[in-house]
Point group: C2
Chain length 349, copies 2
């Protein structure tokens, strides 16, 4: 029996563990929070992510360890990697948790981004000041309009980035196995509000092959440069001329890939488990079209959701409070018109 | 939070619990065996199925109780049903566990079967003597050729049945919710050896609408007569002229429905959980074609299985021993030729 360690026991860990179970892979998660969502299908060690005792336990018990979040102490991951394979590698997690290293890595891989600067610098089109460490779901960044003062809007080390007049936000989820084989899911369109992902359409409406190929290339170049193993997500801006800029990279399964559970033959969660456990990847082809809507701050009536044709409910076992992701709904359909009709029935977005 | 009790903690309970988790439904299973497969995603009370203490615990803790096997003490189920909803009802389980009551119920519902007799009777075309109680996977039955002696081939109460010169074995899985709404999956073809299901093709090759309609009618008539709630399976013989006879009924999710996990939008497991937990049913439409192969007595190399396009591995967390079902593999494809190619790569059947 293969045992997979997961740093983090939130909803991503939960869905990883649920995907691992049919493969006969047992999961052990490390999570400091009480009532870890992953506990439904994983043993949970209640400890901070860097707790040496918990990591020793993981090293002893697991065949391989992965992460469900990038905000993990890198020294702890490094210590673990000397004892048990850690996939993706601690180096990659270190890059993804530091916006400066991330931007430098994107530049090194020849992947276009918005203009940025290591120092606090005002861009003529407006500036986003971002903390180097710890930001997620829109936290840790401040928008400064053209002509504004970028100094001291945030504590800690920051970078500055030019505001991009993008047409829409897209993302791509891809996976790479130990042999270097890659599969990429279709590019999806994401809608955010207050910095939190609200809804994903998959594939992105009006997606053309050039856009898919460009996004594919970004994911492949990064994964190849990093000798990456597992699922990765690249958040993208699409400009008015159709071209793409990379925004952020997540070295893990991603909220914009949740639709793959019902929308494709192999979900991002199974794909990640396969990759890090030295198994071959599966098909990432979509069956039809899908939309994913996050449930934020409140749990809807399950019967009302499931009465919508093609609707699937995913609850994470979390108490709802304002702004908290407590689940998601995926709706699948044969084509866009049917999907729109179903989403109207759903009344969630 | 809804809590679902399950009598039985085997692989069916495991797959029910894995399907319940995303719906935010917690499962508690009663199972006497050590290392219950359901334990991956359910709390397991280690006790016999009729253990009064365990049932009291279920009654206190659960909103509804279901069964993953029909060989459950009916008096215990009846006791439970006075305290908490039991779906399907104990009456139906009592019928399904007794071949005589089952045959009588099929006759009462106007569903054709092979000729049978309550007494030990020799049929000119050959006779199958079957124990009334406790048979499964081919156990508890003996075939007597034409002219042979049917007396005393088995201990206990038995019925006798005429041997049917069938063309092939089929089955249908269907579900009915609390409001009486019904969905039916496509009729599938099953191949048995030594009385154990080896492989299922879904939909059954060369399935015509008349056959689907006849099988549909069988399932609908039984479920309506029984005011049934949950998933049901009806095993069928197809004769040379294409017509169907009902063989056996299982008041639960069924091995010949495992392909629905990847082959349809709503698996039989999710469908059963939805039905018994008062939620609406989902679509039972297949995406394409599928084949399910049981893993019996040995666990194959996971990497070899998953290298086959469209292949999905399901292990049950059971130690392999001769004749024991330890998992299954489902292969999906767009159409039959592609499926055949993939099955040849799989080299399992």
């Amino acid at each position: 029996v293969t045992t997979l360690g997961i740093i983090g026991g939130g909803q991503l860990g939960r869905m990883l563990a649920l995907a691992a179970a049919p493969l006969g892979i047992e999961c052990v998660a490390v999570e400091p929070a009480e009532k870890a969502p992953a506990a439904i299908a994983a043993d949970v060690i209640r400890a901070t992510y860097g707790d040496r005792g918990a990591l020793e336990h993981l090293a002893r018990r697991c065949d391989v360890v992965t992460v469900e979040l990038e905000h993990v102490p890198v020294d702890a991951l490094g210590w673990l990697a000397e004892r048990v394979p850690v996939r993706p590698s601690p180096n990659v997690v270190a890059i993804a948790q530091d916006r400066l290293l991330e931007k430098q890595a994107l530049r090194a891989a020849g992947i276009p981004t918005a203009a940025w600067a290591e120092a606090l610098e005002a861009f003529p089109e407006g500036t986003v000041v971002k903390r180097r460490f710890g930001g997620y779901d829109g936290r840790g960044q401040v928008m400064v309009p053209p002509g504004g003062t970028v100094a001291a809007v945030l504590d800690g080390d920051c970078i500055s980035e030019a505001v991009v007049p993008f047409e829409r936000e897209l993302s791509i989820v891809a996976a790479r196995d130990l042999d270097g084989a890659v599969v990429t899911y279709p590019v999806v369109e994401n809608r955010h509000a207050d910095g939190i992902l609200r809804a994903t359409r998959a594939p992105a409406p009006r997606l053309d092959s050039r856009t898919q190929a460009q996004a594919d290339g970004f994911a492949r170049r990064l994964m190849s440069a990093w000798d990456y193993v597992g699922v990765i997500a690249v958040e993208l801006f699409q400009l008015v001329d159709g071209s793409l800029l990379a925004n952020e990279v997540a070295p893990r399964v991603h909220n914009s890939g949740h639709w793959t559970i019902e929308g494709t033959d192999t979900s991002q969660f199974e794909q990640h488990v396969r990759a890090v456990c030295s198994l071959p990847l599966g098909s990432a082809e979509p069956w039809g079209v899908a939309a994913m809507v996050n449930l934020i701050g409140a749990i809807p009536d399950a019967a009302a959701v499931l009465a919508v044709p093609g609707a699937h409910l995913h609850l994470y076992g979390k108490e709802p409070w304002p702004g908290r992701k407590v689940g998601h709904v995926t709706v699948v359909a044969a084509e866009e018109t049917e999907l729109d009709e179903r989403l109207q029935c759903l009344k969630l977005c």
